[in-house]
């Protein structure tokens, strides 16, 4: 067993099954989900260990269904007394809620009792000693870069390892478990010149250690970003084309996907109402979902109801082909679950329009704003009104002129989606989402120059 975990898959399956059995004895249908994670994290700065942590979490959650009423309860302890208590609490809650015929377990034949389960765990060294070495390697690399450039100062370097287990059982006899792993490294770089201070970071996150970005590359990117942000200034208010780098582009894709979840749709809290079959974005765009990518950060063989997802198109030529539905939200919309009770799996945005690498995208932008960071803002889910404070770069004739800060961007999500001119080949993965940079023709920039 892993040295980060103190429980086994069998322990978790037993706890989930016990919870379901206790509910069944009270005449309820039930679903129990049990998770356990072990985490080790070391942060190093300037050769010194700042924090060394062994942490983790565990929990058992049960949902009972009784006479079309549901109740949920959870506990961090898995002992029998705690499980009995939460089953009791869930049953009590179910007595108080109003009946809803849509609140029920999915049909048993929809469950992925067997079937493909993508690999989510890779055996890698994850001991605190190994993480200390990894953080120190990053820290040395960061200090070497800083020693060669007096504008730079190394911030903290962090190595984190997580191993986890998850088990799901239902009163229909479903009982499966999975093992997962996650390795992350990040480095913070500070930059300073006569214009002031700034900071930047670079992170790498994978399910296996040997897939992480090499330490010198990771630290180098953080240093490049910190240097690039020096001398940032505002620009005057204007309308202009805007290029979102792959990291900020992924957040836009996440907002699009969020508007297509069953929860947003049935509550009519989506800026894309009744979207299926409707063209909601530029017609050169495709968005696809793949739950089964081996070691994918958002892969899974089944969702928290036990239903498998599928590899499918979400957008085809700009038109919506599929939503992200749970059994409950699907019933509210008159559609079957798509196995997305926990949201979306791995997504990939692609485009058939003319495109290119980062440099080519800058040339396509011509004169306009590049967005490298969202500093804060809001999307109104009901109206799609979108506003953000951003950091970025001002570009003229395809060349970066200066870094930008203290500006806002505002538009409306439906207009932004139809206004996408191109998606770059400079694809990066941010969690569940893979996309290149996104070029939007015309947005309102607010600044004071």
């Amino acid at each position: 067993m892993s040295e980060l975990l103190t429980q086994s898959e069998a322990d978790l399956r037993d706890a989930a099954s016990l919870a379901v059995d206790l509910a069944a004895r009270r005449g309820a249908k039930a679903r129990a989900s049990v998770h356990h994670e072990g985490i080790a994290k070391i942060a190093v700065r300037n050769g010194e260990v700042e924090t060394a942590e062994r942490s983790g979490s565990q929990g058992l959650g049960i949902t009972v269904f009784h006479d079309s009423r549901q109740g949920s309860a959870s506990t961090a302890g898995f002992d029998r007394a705690a499980i009995e208590r939460v089953v009791e609490e869930a049953m009590l809650i179910a007595q108080h809620v109003q009946p809803d015929v849509d609140a029920d377990l999915p049909a048993s034949d929809r469950l992925a009792h067997t079937g493909p389960a993508p690999e989510l765990y890779a055996d890698s060294p994850r001991s605190p000693d190994m993480l200390l070495d990894a953080a120190q390697v990053l820290d040395r690399a960061a200090n070497e870069i800083a020693a060669c450039d007096n504008r730079l100062r190394a911030g903290e370097c962090v190595a984190v390892a997580t191993e986890g287990l998850w088990a799901l059982a239902t009163s229909d006899g479903f009982c499966r478990s999975v093992q997962r792993s996650n390795d992350a490294r990040w480095s913070v770089m500070l930059a300073h010149d006569e214009g002031g201070s700034t900071s930047a970071f670079c992170q790498s996150q994978e399910r296996r250690v040997d897939a992480l970005i090499p330490p010198d590359v990771l630290v180098g990117r953080a240093a490049d970003r910190a240097r690039q942000a020096l001398g940032a200034r505002t620009i005057g208010s204007r309308r202009c084309p805007v290029l979102f780098d792959p990291f900020t582009a992924a957040k836009l894709v996440g907002e699009l996907a969020g508007a297509l979840t069953g929860h947003a749709q049935y509550r009519r809290m989506s800026f894309l109402p009744d979207p299926v079959g409707r063209c909601v974005s530029a017609s050169h765009l495709d968005l696809s979902e793949d739950p089964f990518e081996p070691l994918g950060l958002a892969s899974g063989g089944f969702d928290s109801e036990g239903i498998a997802g599928s590899s499918r198109a979400i957008l085809r030529q700009g038109a919506v082909e599929g939503l992200f539905l749970s059994t409950f939200s699907g019933r509210k919309l008159g559609m079957p679950s798509t196995g997305n009770a926990d949201g979306f799996y791995n997504l990939r945005l692609t485009s058939s329009a003319a495109s290119g690498d980062w440099q080519a995208m800058l040339e396509m932008l011509g004169t306009g704003l590049v967005v490298t960071e969202f500093q804060g803002g809001k999307t109104d889910p009901a109206s799609g009104n979108w506003t953000q404070a951003i950091k970025g770069l001002w570009v003229e004739d395809g060349r970066v002129v200066h870094a930008v800060t203290d500006v806002t961007l505002a538009s409306n999500m439906p207009a932004m989606l139809t206004g996408i001119r191109a998606v770059g080949l400079d694809v990066e993965r941010q969690g569940a989402i893979r996309t290149g940079s996104i070029l939007i023709d015309d947005m309102q920039v607010g600044g004071t120059a």
């Binding site: 942590e53 806002t408 004071t448």
Partner: protein
């Protein structure tokens, strides 16, 4: 009355008894934890339970119950902090957790059995919030009746309201903190948050409004008038937003209304005065203690001892009684907020700002109730002083970049002001600025100090806590406003 022996007795009953622990066992664990020559070592025991009810579209659709408990163990050697935690609090598991910390600290394991530490209650009694069981299941019927009343009130307010979601979440936390100096403190922290979200629809437009009430109280802390005011606030926001025009773009004077807009001082001042950022020379205010950083008349205070506020604490999560720390006095930077680790490294004493999300998280310097003190101006005069600008009354959170001091907020309720009059509601305006510049541009401070309604939370390094923010109406002469109007 809370804290002192009352809280320690409750912690004994809820935490120690079921785990078979007593003070001698805690003392032994602390002796081992500090045995490697740690400058600071402590144990934090916590039990929390939560109960929630949700009403959607006039029906109670779900409820929830959750419980967790555990112990966090920490040892600091200078600036090197080692930390581990366990959901199992029995003595064997506690010893394993302590060994994990020593291993992380690379202390090795001394063959000699260390001395157990004798514990003495510290942290006095307080009247900031009551010792009650906020999550009692017997309250279910009354809570559901209150959610149904909220639904009815919102519907009666305006026929354009087409959706109402109402939630209540009650939380009950009991903590026991023991450290290697032999101090032991306890606290019982009830908290209940009631919230409502409404959607208004007219002529194909949809707009949202939201409001909430958070109190360190149980059901009896929620009187009918406060609940009616909360519903009216959410409905008014949604109806106003239906007619909202795109926010203007550019630099202009901004008036911030009383209450939650005080989050400006939380973001633009407070985070930059948390001592960890100073010790690491990361803060935009680094080295500026004693310097003028704001216009005269600007006094900003962090006070963890205001009765009933969600940022208040009988003792912080390191067992220290929170101070009233004057951060900025009449424009001059006067104080920092410390936890024990950073205070120890900076030759200062803790100000009682050591807070953590749970036993599974490390404490850090965090804010409690942070506010701008009252000034002299009449709020009506402040609005009347604007030729063209924005009057913002509600924000949807905010962010700050500690290193640059740059902050931003997005309004969820704001008006365009022309010639001293509110002209029209505006939608989605993002206000941005740099802390020290915005502070210098404050030209009028009202006399109507108010706090948020109990919904404010603060995120730092992945840990979320309840805080409180407040301010009187104020005018900032120059601020960047970003909206959709060109």
């Amino acid at each position: 009355m809370n804290g002192g022996d009352i809280a320690i007795d409750r912690a004994r009953a809820r935490l120690l008894g079921p785990a078979g622990l007593d003070e001698a066992a805690i003392g032994r664990a602390l002796g081992h934890l500090a045995g490697g020559g740690a400058d600071l070592a402590d144990l934090f025991f916590e039990t929390t339970s939560l109960r929630s009810w949700r009403l959607e579209g006039g029906r109670v659709t779900n409820g929830g119950f959750a419980m967790r408990q555990g112990v966090g163990a920490r040892a600091a050697h200078g600036g090197h902090v080692s930390f581990a935690h366990s959901a199992d609090m029995r003595e064997g598991a506690l010893q394993d957790t302590v060994r994990a910390v020593r291993s992380l600290a690379r202390d090795g394991d001394t063959a000699r059995q260390p001395q157990g530490i004798a514990l003495t209650p510290a942290g006095g009694r307080h009247d900031l919030y009551p010792v009650i069981d906020a999550v009692a299941v017997e309250d279910a019927t009354a809570w559901i009746a209150m959610l149904e009343r909220i639904d009815q009130l919102a519907r009666e307010h305006d026929p354009r309201i087409v959706r109402i979601d109402a939630n209540v979440r009650a939380q009950d936390t009991t903590v026991l903190i023991a450290n290697a100096d032999g101090q032991m403190a306890g606290d019982v922290r009830p908290m209940t948050i009631l919230s409502v979200m409404v959607v208004a629809e007219a002529e194909g437009h949809r707009a949202r409004g939201q409001a909430g009430l958070g109190r360190r109280a149980g059901q009896r802390g929620f009187d009918a008038v406060s609940v009616e005011t909360m519903v009216a606030t959410a409905v008014r926001m949604a109806i106003n937003n239906l007619d909202a025009i795109p926010a203007p773009v550019g630099e202009m004077p901004v008036v911030l209304g009383p209450g939650y807009p005080g989050v400006l001082f939380h973001e633009a001042v407070g985070h930059g005065l948390e001592s960890d950022h100073h010790r690491k020379h990361l803060s935009a205010f680094d080295g500026k203690v004693g310097e003028r950083i704001a216009a005269s008349g600007v006094t900003v205070i962090d006070d963890g001892g205001i009765a009933g506020r969600l940022g208040s604490l009988g003792v912080d999560d390191e067992g220290t009684t929170p101070d009233r720390t004057v951060l900025v006095e009449d424009g001059v930077l006067t104080g920092l907020m410390h936890d024990r680790v950073n205070a120890g490294l900076m030759n200062a004493r803790s100000t009682g700002n050591g807070r953590r999300q749970s036993y599974a998280h490390l404490p850090m310097p965090r804010m409690t109730n942070t506010f701008l003190a009252n000034g002299q101006d009449d709020p009506a005069d402040i609005i009347a002083s604007i030729d063209r600008g924005i009057y913002a009354t509600e924000f949807d959170g905010g962010q700050v970049d500690i290193v640059t001091g740059r902050f931003n907020f997005t309004t969820i309720e704001a008006w365009l002001v022309e010639k001293g009059k509110l002209v029209a509601p505006v939608r989605g305006a993002t206000l941005i600025g740099v802390g020290n510049e915005a502070l210098r541009h404050i030209s009028m401070v009202g006399n109507d100090l108010a706090f948020d309604t109990g919904m404010a939370t603060c995120g730092k390094q992945g840990q979320t806590l309840s805080v409180s923010v407040g301010q009187p109406t104020l005018r900032i002469d120059r601020m960047m406003v970003g909206g959709q109007a060109g």
